[in-house]
């Protein structure tokens, strides 16, 4: 039964991800005085791509073809770890938050290799930049997460969320710092403005898009879906760790329903904030990203120190 709910939750995660992307796009369009596409447009795009015949370069090796499947399944696995509508699911015991970061690293490893596989200059550029940014983002992210896990004294995400729920609403300085650090990292890792712009293919600025230029058809669909999933995953992390109220602690239908409604509401709100931020802020130069990410790291470090100095039990 528990496993069934866990699998259901993961499926829900995967299914809802394009919806979030559609909603985000809609908010942005409204903010920029443009006519918005339908909320279901991302689903249509994915469906269209899966019906197309994929064209693969003659230069491509097996790795290029296998990579989308690996990237997608690693991201799905990461999603299975994160509590979406309920805590205490068995999947969160099979992997903790460090493993989740590991899944992201796994997906990124293959994405970067796929970028290098064809031997185009664009692909290499994208891979190089992606690895640079992610290697700076990873310590910042872990710093923010360590703050949380040290407060909850567990690295199990479900356990950490349950801990925050039990403690009730306490304003912890460490959490505020960690929240901001995680938001900054999330923006960098999911390739949003100001670090990367998912809507552009301008050669000087693109990072994520440069690696996947040669993909088409179902391969492209998988990668697109994986990146939508990643966006939602970070959203859920931020929403459920720092504001976990509403998440189901028991597995009866009513609680699960409330959990679903709560997370949809929280994500919708987060997406509006992200859309406003993306509309207001301009994209950064590539070599300013390091300053941005070291700021995120600094916030994480401050969070950690304030936990150690102000909050720890002794």
């Amino acid at each position: 039964m528990n496993w069934l709910i866990a699998i259901l939750q993961t499926t829900l995660f995967v299914v809802l991800a394009p919806l979030l992307a559609g909603w985000l796009k809609m908010c942005k369009c409204h903010l920029q005085n443009r006519k918005a596409p339908s909320l279901l447009q991302p689903y249509r795009d994915l469906l269209k791509l899966t019906h197309k015949q994929p064209v693969v370069s003659e230069q491509a090796s097996w790795l290029f073809i296998a990579a989308p499947y690996l990237i997608f399944s690693a991201t799905v696995l990461a999603a299975s770890v994160v509590p979406l509508i309920a805590v205490n699911l068995p999947t969160s015991a099979s992997a903790d938050v460090i493993v989740m970061v590991g899944f992201f690293a796994f997906a990124r490893f293959f994405l970067a290799l796929a970028g290098l596989d064809i031997g185009t200059a664009f692909g290499g550029m994208g891979s190089s930049r992606e690895m640079t940014i992610s290697s700076l983002a990873e310590p910042a992210m872990l710093m923010a997460i360590f703050t949380l896990t040290m407060t909850a004294s567990t690295t199990n995400l479900s356990g950490a969320i349950a801990h925050v729920l039990n403690e009730g609403l306490i304003l912890r300085p460490s959490f505020v710092f960690a929240l901001f650090a995680l938001i900054l990292v999330a923006i960098a890792e999911t390739g949003r403005i100001p670090v990367d712009n998912p809507a552009t293919h301008l050669e000087l600025t693109m990072i994520h898009e440069a690696m996947i230029l040669e993909y088409s058809g179902r391969h492209l669909a998988l990668i697109e879906w994986a990146s939508q999933l990643k966006l939602m995953l970070y959203g859920v992390l931020i929403a459920n760790i720092f504001l976990p109220w509403g998440i189901a602690e028991t597995f009866d239908a009513k609680d699960l329903g409330y959990g679903l409604l709560a997370i949809i509401g929280k994500l919708a709100l987060l997406a509006i904030f992200l859309a406003i931020a993306e509309t207001l802020v301009a994209k950064m130069r590539l070599f300013r990203v390091q300053e941005y990410l070291s700021f995120a790291y600094l916030l994480g470090l401050l969070g950690m120190l304030s936990h150690i100095i102000l909050e720890a039990s002794r």
Binding site: E58, F72, I98, A112, L116, S127, T154
Partner: protein, 708 residues
């Protein structure tokens, strides 16, 4: 019985070295066999014809090389058996051999710690002996005699095994020197190149300085005890100052061998010039022997660890891990890159060992056992994947005659098996989930996160920062090995050599790496096997094991407690297969969407050539810019101008030299100091016999005065 197989391992490796000496003794051997057959068993015709066949002039060298490696492989098998047996038996076996000094016979002690490192050496030696016969075939006998290579390989392995068995300082140093000197000859094997001779000399110099420092460390211990046996040294009652002095000496000595920044400089010089299977042994195994020495010295002989030592190890380890991977990132030479990456991994091990010491000294032995577990597990993993990568580098060098990764490319299609094995190595070393590197890194993070139990505020804020540095290291390692795999195997060939490369034909050369790759994956999925073994080691050495390593069942890994953290690689593997399988099946069911091959799109620009691909220096350019202070970068761009008023650029020359800070900052001042000192001393050497007679007279008078 266990000890017997350990001795067998030592003797077999020694015998393989001696057998290699028979390379030029074919005549003698056939004479002996003739004599033997005439005298003894004349009846056994089959045996005789088999021996005679192998003693023929053409077959003999091949046969002998195989025999040498078979003996070496058997030695590895016996080492594995002995190691496993002592680890599972949880016993301590002691013995004495009547060798060595008259009043100090060789004391032998075989316990869990030695057994664990026996296991590491055994696996590595097995893989190398599968790989060796194919690899040494390319060496021409008159230029690079196999006798020297085989002899010193055998002695090298013997030395390493004896270090692990030693139970007195005297035997320990003999074995240690045997290991160092034998590996010096292996580094100097291709001595026709002056750079190789220089690297070998640097290695020997640093090995000997390190050995001196270890001897001094033992000396400090021995001056407080009754003898040189480890039992006596354990009893020694040191004040904390003297214990710290001994610790610093041991750290310098063993750290020099292990390759800790800033005493790592011999590693990137020596590893690339040795034959690949030797660099695999040196990097994968010999560094671990140095680690063994440090653990034996600190945790066993000194006994009461102090938390300050832990902090020193933690800081040194962090610096080495970060420095090692940043230097590795910049290297275009594959084996040099791997050598720097060894510095990184040793740094990680030292870091976690430091954590273990800190917990130990603060009275949390169970957490100390966790750190100890993470350190030894990472040592084991590093031995596996670094060996794998060095053997892979050897295959690549063998097939393309290149070590510069900027000259490779596209090898995944030409060498599919090698590329798959190398990919496993790259994924393990980048600590991706499902592979062994991830498990030890996860354990390291778990250790660091237990910092809340400590009372000291400085430590509590220092350790999370170190953990974040570890995260940065892991991410940089992933970037580094994306670069390595991507540039070597993916894309298009960047040189004629790599265009013409093909898969290696010798099955053994693939079998060795395949064994290691299989173990990397197996241990990544079932880490409990190794954790159980290491628990026995920490039970013996620290007298504490992990509280409940199987609270959730054997599928889960829950080092602290099930509530705090758990990881279940088999379930993750099942999940991954499920997810990938479902989408693979679902997306490929329609016949209308069969994949089509076409020309590379490249945004429609066309005219793609291999030279447009990213190279090592362009891939790492963002890193070079962000971490610019880490290296001494000498970047020169020269343009050839032509045409009226020099308006057109005919050609652009780009030069990039990246150097380690430790040379100009540390070594060159020392070298200069030594030179200056020598010049000062040189003043009294006038070359005049009368002056020298005067010196002798003065010395004599002085000595007489002292005696009277």
């Amino acid at each position: 019985m266990i000890l017997l197989s350990a001795y067998c391992a030592v003797l077999l490796s020694f015998a393989s070295g001696l057998l290699a000496l028979m390379m030029h003794q074919r005549q003698t051997l056939s004479a002996i066999s003739e004599y033997g057959f005439n005298k003894l068993f004349t009846r056994n015709v089959h045996c005789r014809s088999w021996i005679n066949k192998n003693l023929e002039e053409r077959r003999f060298p091949v046969f002998l090389k195989q025999a040498v490696f078979v003996l070496l492989g058997l030695s590895g098998v016996f080492a594995v058996i002995a190691g496993l047996a002592v680890l599972l038996g949880k016993g301590v076996i002691t013995d004495q051999i009547a060798l060595g000094l008259p009043w100090l016979p060789w004391h032998i002690r075989f316990d869990g710690l030695s057994g664990f490192f026996f296991l590491i050496i055994g696996i590595a030696v097995c893989a190398v002996s599968l790989y060796g016969p194919g690899y040494v075939r390319t060496y021409k006998e008159n230029e690079h005699p196999f006798a020297a290579l085989g002899l010193f390989t055998g002695l090298f392995v013997t030395g390493m095994l004896l270090v692990l068995l030693a139970d007195d300082a005297f035997m320990f140093m003999i074995a240690w020197e045997l290991m160092s000197v034998a590996s010096y000859f292996l580094v100097a094997f291709q001595h026709e190149n002056p750079a190789n001779r220089r690297a070998a000399f640097l290695y020997l110099l640093m090995a000997e300085v390190g050995a001196l420092s270890i001897i001094l460390g033992f000396g400090v211990l021995a001056s407080f005890s009754t003898g040189f046996t480890f039992d006596a040294l354990r009893e020694a009652n040191l004040s904390s100052t003297w214990a710290s002095i001994a610790f610093v000496l041991a750290l310098l000595g063993f750290g020099m061998k292990a390759g800790i920044v800033p005493v790592h400089v011999w590693l990137p010089e020596a590893h690339p010039v040795a034959p690949s299977h030797i660099s695999a042994l040196m990097s994968g195994v010999m560094l671990k022997v140095a680690l063994y020495g440090l653990i034996r010295f600190c945790f066993d002989l000194l006994g009461d660890v102090q938390w300050q030592w832990g902090v020193v190890l933690l800081i040194l380890g962090t610096v080495s891990a970060l420095g090692g991977i940043l230097y590795a990132l910049m290297q275009p030479n594959l084996k040099r890159l791997l050598a720097y990456s060894s510095v990184e991994n040793i740094g990680i091990i030292f870091m976690v060992l430091g954590l273990s010491m800190i917990f130990m000294a603060n009275g949390h032995p169970q957490l100390a056992a966790l750190g100890f577990l993470a350190a030894l597990f990472h040592a084991f993993n590093h031995a596996l994947f670094k060996n794998l990568l060095f053997l892979g580098a050897g295959i690549i060098h063998h097939q393309t005659h290149e070590l510069n990764i900027d000259m490779m490319g596209g090898l995944i299609k030409k060498m599919p098996q090698t590329s798959a094995l190398f990919l496993v190595g790259c994924m393990s070393i980048s600590s991706l989930p499902l592979f062994n590197g991830f498990v030890s890194e996860w354990l390291a993070f778990q250790t660091a996160l237990q910092v809340d139990v400590l009372d000291n505020g400085v430590l509590r804020s220092l350790i999370p920062v170190a953990a974040a540095a570890l995260a940065l290291t892991a991410a940089l390692a992933a970037a580094c090995f994306v670069k390595v795999f991507g540039l070597i195997f993916l894309g298009q060939a960047r040189s004629r050599n790599s265009e013409k490369a093909h898969e290696v034909r010798d099955k053994g050369m693939l079998a060795g790496p395949a064994l290691l790759a299989g173990l990397c994956f197996f241990i990544g999925i079932f880490p409990g096997v190794i954790i159980h073994l290491i628990n026995n080691v920490s039970g013996q050495l620290l007298e504490h094991t992990l509280p409940n390593d199987s609270a959730l069942g054997w599928l889960w890994l829950a080092p602290v407690s099930a509530e705090q953290a758990s990881y279940s690689p088999p379930l993750v593997l099942i999940g991954a297969l499920l997810a990938a399988g479902v989408c693979y099946w679902y997306l490929r069911r329609s016949p209308l969407t069969v994949m089509r091959r076409a020309e590379t799109w490249d945004c429609g620009f066309g005219g793609l050539t291999p030279r447009m691909q990213y190279t090592s220096s362009s891939f790492t350019m963002p890193f070079r810019r962000i971490f610019a202070k880490t290296w001494i970068i000498d970047e020169q761009i020269k343009k050839d101008l032509q045409g009226a008023m020099d308006q057109d650029v005919a050609a652009v020359h780009y030069q990039l030299h990246i150097q380690d800070h430790s040379w100009p900052r540390l070594y060159q001042p020392i070298a200069q100091g030594v030179n200056n000192l020598a010049r000062q001393v040189g003043r009294i050497q006038t070359g005049n016999i009368r002056t020298y007679l005067g010196y002798s007279f003065a010395t004599l008078v002085l000595l007489l005065w002292v005696i009277s």
